[in-house]
Symmetry: C2
Subunit: 162 residues, 2 copies
């Protein structure tokens, strides 16, 4: 009986800890980037089928909204800047590689007040079907750890040719 109680207590403890995972209130989450398909295409990287990170294999397209494009010129990204990394799976077709289905999307949005704890940028992920992929504040801080080493948290550079 003692053993049974210990197991039940253990399960409760796990549930309790899980419920305390720190997440942002829903109205502070980075929203789905409506209309990003008509934003500026910054660049694409191609990750082959042997790449160690299965989540990013294929075409990794980066899109920037108008505010983010302004930021490339000045080196400082205005409030409201949004970047999308859309990962599209790759499929071999004859002698080249074509796009297939979307795998997922990463989104980062500049809001210095709302996302102060992650360097002024909020981070979100969306699945193939547009649904939100749960990201705890801890996971967003992990995003920030890499991004903060870059120029105003942005890795990419806009190809200059117009």
């Amino acid at each position: 009986m003692k053993k049974y109680c210990a197991v039940v207590a253990g399960v409760f403890l796990i549930i309790l800890i899980s419920s305390f995972k720190i997440t942002l209130p829903a109205d502070e989450e980075v929203s789905y980037p409506d209309g990003y398909r008509s934003w500026t295409h910054v660049k694409t990287s191609f990750l082959g089928p042997q790449h160690p990170n299965v989540n990013y294999r294929g075409f990794d397209h980066i899109y920037a909204n108008d505010l983010a494009v302004q930021g490339y010129a000045t080196g400082k990204f205005p409030e409201g800047s949004v970047f999308v990394v859309e990962v599209i799976e790759a499929v071999p077709v004859e002698n080249y590689t074509s796009e297939a289905e979307r795998h997922h999307m990463d989104v980062m949005q500049k809001d210095s007040l709302r996302y102060a704890s992650t360097g002024g940028w909020g981070y979100a992920q969306f699945e193939r079907d547009n649904s939100r992929r749960m990201l705890t504040l801890e996971q967003q801080k992990t995003c920030n750890t890499c991004h903060l080493k870059q120029n105003d948290h942005v890795f990419s550079v806009l190809r200059k040719v117009q």
Copy 2:
């Protein structure tokens, strides 16, 4: 002396024939697509270093202006629709493939009257430095030979996810 004259006449003949290559008047040529870097990115194909066509190896990005984007929805592309295929050379970086320099650009523009002899679409190419690559009318007709088999001459399909 006779031999010398024959050579000179031959050279003149070659120059004469060359000058009669049929080209469009300058004001009817498809112009450089100013601002295409902020147009909608339709899709990307990746052609590896073994692809037989050296001119298209790397990232082949397709961009469409607003009129062309409308055409994807209706299946009929309005006058003034413009597509760009920008070929960006690829370079291996660690465990992925990155964009390098532009190789060249292909441009097609819808103008049913001006380009009636090539199916209502004009074709042009631009070099890495934006300068025009000479395309004779005969070469443009070769473009048309493949394109006319497609829906209103357009091969690509716009990824639906918005």
